[in-house]
């Protein structure tokens, strides 16, 4: 934790509005966000300067990433627009291998001269560091893709939609929450467009245009007499989509237990705001949970974070190998467990897949940030651990010859490294709806939405909460609960998986600002699943009297 954490200004919603601009780039006008960047032919000429310079200096490999990263963030509270941020960051990052060692340098001077200079620095860093290098870099082979391009299949570019229209929608959602009993409401809309060009000495020139969007709301209801308050977050998911995600579609809305409304590939922020206000109010008088063992019925917008923390992170190969030991930690899923071929990660129903291709997901791209074509692969098959997440310079350590294609950098300015792809739980093969699943639960809790989450540095012990909780008794939902959190151990938890709903209930959850590395970098990743049942999980009561 950095010292600046202590001086972070507190307050609901304030954390988001205080995001440092410099983290995302220069503040610019909306028009500047829509202006075209360099054309592909210009980028190829510039990238070749880096590749040729590196080769002439003796580098055995080089890649150049010319990146233009655009963001637009809107923040509102009640009837006010608090902040609108438009940022642009443009530059080039050059990575080389010389004497078997990595070197990296970046510059905002995207000219032949600037790129040549940055490449020379990258090579000199590699050569200097090679003197203390103990493990020379071994790269898995990669196909030469030639000149190719890829674009997130969006219908409407969110940044091209007028700021007024977007601010009006957020204010409309806020008003709907206030009319339905909220005392306070914050909403925000994050829009990201990565325009990145990758070239490497392997013969690939890849132009990609990546879009992501995330609407959020939080409604708060207070009871001043008792000095109590409850907040209910929105049930949106960040998506790899355009502004079409904000167009409500009844076919994409799913009604859950207690009439709770949830969303698949389209979001209705106004409908969700109304629900948020009503449910926050209901929470003020909801029953406090009796601690004990419960069968949990977890919907995808909640289960996604559990997958992220208990499957996504422990199966990152760099964590397993110790490269993240001083920060995020290592992993319980050690190489010997994987090599045994029979490490029982979960019950037979559990099939966890990694991918960078799922349409609408945050992780979807055509090629990763080292020019590997993206794909899907198994991590856990019928309950058994079968693979990790690894990139070109790692796969040889697990005796594989092909990168998984999950290398990513948050910007041209940072070096790319292994990041979590989408990690998803496959839907059940048998026809099963959440309502049918609940019918068979005697004593259980249905949990929707993300909440408090904490897990140890090797990903054994975790504690998760949600957004809303409903008690299930003898196959019926009987009412809302408060003060719920479940504690378990990763292997025990996934082995308690007793049923998974079918494909018709499958949808994605996402993490928009996932942190890793020192210095820390962010990335965005989705986790798909259908509503899933876990038997006999330990639930604690988090209520306290102070």
């Amino acid at each position: 934790m950095k010292r600046r954490d202590f001086i972070q200004i507190a307050g609901l919603g304030a954390g988001a509005t205080m995001l440092p601009l410099s983290m995302f780039g220069k503040s610019v006008s909306v028009e500047a966000l829509l202006a075209p960047g360099l054309d592909v032919a210009q980028k190829k000429v510039l990238a070749d300067v880096a590749l040729n310079t590196a080769k002439s200096m003796g580098a055995s490999y080089a890649d150049a990433r010319i990146g233009r990263y655009l963001n637009q963030f809107l923040f509102t509270r009640e009837d006010k627009v608090q902040n609108i941020q438009n940022t642009e960051s443009f530059g080039v990052g050059i990575r080389v291998i010389a004497n078997g060692t990595w070197g990296f340098s970046s510059t905002i001077d995207v000219t032949p001269e600037g790129i040549k200079k940055a490449t020379e620095i990258a090579v000199s860093i590699a050569k200097a560091n090679s003197k203390i290098q103990k493990e020379p870099v071994v790269m898995a082979p990669v196909a030469s893709h030639g000149e190719v391009s890829w674009k997130t299949p969006i219908i409407k570019n969110a940044i091209a939609v007028s700021v007024e229209e977007k601010a009006d929608l957020l204010l409309k959602a806020n008003a709907a929450a206030m009319e339905n009993g909220a005392n306070y409401v914050n909403s925000a809309l994050f829009q990201v467009n990565e325009q990145k060009y990758f070239a490497s000495t392997e013969g690939s020139y890849i132009d990609q245009d990546v879009h992501r969007i995330w609407p959020t709301i939080t409604a708060t209801v207070i009871d001043p007499k008792e000095g109590k308050f409850k907040s209910r977050q929105g049930l949106s998911a960040p998506m790899g989509m355009g502004y079409e995600y904000m167009d409500p579609d009844p076919k994409e809305m799913i009604e859950g237990p207690g009439g709770i409304k949830m969303f698949r590939n389209r979001y209705d922020i106004v409908a969700d705001s109304i629900e948020a206000a009503l449910q926050a109010k209901e929470m003020l008088s909801a029953k406090s949970v009796e601690p004990g063992k419960y069968d949990l019925v977890l919907e995808p917008n909640h289960l996604g974070l559990t997958i992220h923390e208990s499957v996504g992170h422990p199966l990152e190969l760099d964590r397993v190998l110790g490269y993240e030991a001083n920060y995020a930690g290592t992993s319980f899923a050690t190489l010997d467990k994987w090599k045994s071929g029979n490490f029982n990660y979960g019950s037979k129903l559990v099939n966890l897949v990694a991918d960078k291709t799922q349409v609408g997901s945050l992780g979807a791209v055509g090629y990763d940030d080292e020019g590997v074509k993206c794909k899907e692969w198994d991590l856990v098959k019928e309950g058994t651990l079968v693979n990790y997440q690894a990139i070109r310079d790692q796969v040889h350590m697990i005796d594989q010859k092909e990168s998984h294609g999950c290398c990513y950098s948050q910007s041209w300015n940072d070096v790319q490294f292994q990041r979590m792809p989408n990690v998803s739980l496959k839907a059940g093969q048998q026809k099963l709806s959440p309502a049918e699943m609940i019918k068979n639960v005697e004593k259980g809790i249905y949990i929707a939405g993300r909440g408090s989450y904490s897990i140890d540095q090797q990903r054994y012990n975790f504690q998760f909460g949600g957004t809303v909780y409903y008690e299930i008794k003898n196959g019926e939902v009987v009412g809302m609960l408060n003060d719920v959190a479940y504690q378990s151990n990763t292997q025990e938890f996934w082995n308690s998986c007793a049923a998974i709903c079918d494909e018709s209930d499958y949808r994605m959850f996402g993490s928009f600002f996932d942190g890793k590395g020192q210095p820390s970098q962010i990335s965005a990743v989705s986790h798909g699943s259908a509503t899933t049942r876990f038997n006999g999980v330990n639930v604690i009561n988090t209520g306290r009297n102070i």
């Binding site: 934790m1 950095k2 010292r3 954490d5 202590f6 001086i7 972070q8 200004i9 507190a10 307050g11 601009l21 410099s22 503040s27 610019v28 627009v81 608090q82 990595w102 990296f104 860093i125 200097a128 560091n129 203390i132 290098q133 103990k134 005392n183 306070y184 001043p224 007499k225 000095g227 109590k228 308050f229 110790g322 490269y323 993240e324 030991a325 001083n326 920060y327 930690g329 070096v415 408090s452 989450y453 904490s454 897990i455 140890d456 540095q457 090797q458 054994y460 012990n461 504690q463 959190a485 504690q487 151990n489 020192q518 210095p519 330990n538 604690i540 988090t542 306290r544 009297n545 102070i546």
Partner: protein
């Protein structure tokens, strides 16, 4: 880029303001030079150096505000950005919480900049890594660490005549040592403004000792235990508690600081009377910035005095709404301590748990400031005044308010993350489950 002197910064800010045609204009400039080295598996993994500088121009017409930033400080670029900020302001929606720029404030003198730190070079960073890696190898443990050093300046000026300048240097260091058999782990953190106060070997050896001593930990039952918290363990809970010292959320009824029946807990005793928490940017051990982001002067301020809430943070807008003086958020935190050393605290403990560090701390209930998280990198069982054996890590569910009400003894203060926090002995700290993590 060089760290701008006060005079150079003022000249540049005055130039930017001279282009302004808005009703008000406020300009901030900042720059930093920072270097880092990262190592793992007893080998250097990455090293980097960055320099950044940035100018932020904020123009306003009435309550309409526009912001433009730039990183190229030519006359033409500055003039163009001032104009952009004015165009954006004209198009911006009304911001009813906008506060016009302040007039000149009087700032305290603080010493946060040390040339010794600003001069750190790649050789120094490599030696720091070697100070961890070499003893680690010799003792059968594996080092993973990160060192980041930086020199930075910031300055602001506005059309109401305010000018503020600050420069500082920082060094942050953490290292994790894991025994090669994978059963023990130790960690240490250090941060200084002056590199001459930093000793990488001393710090690394503490982490190595903890790694070796924490091998083959035994499981004990979760429950309520007397704990001795090292300052690096308790600071995160104290920081989290401090984030609720915000007058606005308290007045709005959505904070731990909101009072039953309305109003805030200002003036109420919320923790043990021996708890005193204050901030002081001039403290020589933890110097802080003398002004906050909006130009407000940061002064010595008591937050908890004798366990009573003595002040809450008031933004300029909220202070105006409530008719009180603004209270800026502090640049450091100082909790008064006692004379007892860690050894003294252990000696006087019949049964207890020594905690090196808490990890993955998350809010469970903002109403009661209940947090969860885990112990990590060195947790030990104390019996009859001695460390008896290492124990497996615990998950806790606890509120810093309960923790500071259950205070037994305050020990000596230690600098952590730019703040001063004492060793603390706490009774009935709530551990709710065991973790197998090392």
């Amino acid at each position: 880029m060089a760290i701008y002197s006060k005079e150079e910064a003022k000249q540049l800010l005055d130039k930017a303001l001279s282009y302004s045609k808005a009703e008000t204009c406020e300009v901030n400039i900042s720059g930093d030079n920072s270097g880092n080295i990262r190592y793992a598996r007893n080998s250097v993994s990455t090293a980097g150096y960055q320099n950044n500088h940035n100018m932020v121009i904020q123009s306003s017409f009435g309550n309409r505000v526009g912001v433009a930033t730039l990183d190229e400080f030519t006359d033409e670029a500055i003039a163009r950005s001032v104009k952009t900020s004015e165009e954006l302001a004209r198009l911006a929606p009304e911001n009813s919480e906008f506060m016009p720029p302040m007039e000149q404030q009087k700032y305290l003198e603080t010493k946060q900049y040390f040339e010794s730190t600003a001069k750190i070079d790649p050789d120094f960073r490599a030696k720091v890594a070697a100070s961890s890696i070499e003893p680690a190898r010799a003792k059968g443990v594996t080092a993973a660490g990160f060192l980041n050093d930086s020199a930075q300046f910031s300055a602001m000026a506005n059309t109401s005549g305010l000018f503020a300048y600050n420069q500082s240097t920082n060094l942050d260091f953490t290292v994790t040592m894991r025994s090669n058999d994978g059963t023990g782990s130790g960690w240490v953190t250090r941060d200084v403004n002056d590199v001459n106060l930093f000793n990488a070997s001393e710090a690394s050896n503490i982490a190595i000792d903890k790694a070796l001593q924490s091998r083959n930990a035994k499981a004990i039952e979760p429950g309520k235990y007397t704990v001795i918290m090292e300052p690096a363990a308790s600071i995160n809970l104290i920081q989290n508690m401090f984030r609720s010292f915000n007058a606005r959320t308290a007045d709005e009824g959505r904070s731990f600081m909101s009072k039953e029946g309305g109003g805030t807990k200002l003036g109420e005793k919320i923790v043990d009377e021996r708890v005193n928490l204050y901030s002081d940017p001039t403290h020589p051990l933890v110097p802080g910035a003398p002004w906050s982001g909006d130009g407000s002067a940061v002064k010595k301020m008591d937050w908890l005095k004798g366990g009573v809430v003595n002040n809450l943070f008031y933004s300029r807008f909220w202070a105006k709404e409530k008719g009180v003086e603004p209270v800026p958020f502090p640049s450091n935190g100082i909790m008064t301590g006692g004379d007892a050393s860690l050894e003294d605290l252990i000696k006087e403990t019949k049964k207890g748990v020594l905690v090196t560090r808490l990890w993955y701390i998350r809010t469970v209930d903002p109403q009661t400031l209940l947090y969860t998280g885990l112990t990590r990198d060195g947790t030990f069982y104390i019996e009859n005044g001695k460390i008896k054996h290492p124990i497996k890590n615990f998950r806790f569910n606890e509120s810093p308010i309960i923790m500071l009400n259950n205070l037994e003894t305050l020990g000596q203060q230690v600098r952590v993350n730019g703040s001063l926090i004492p060793y603390m002995k706490i009774r009935d700290f709530t551990f709710t489950s065991l973790s197998d993590a090392v």
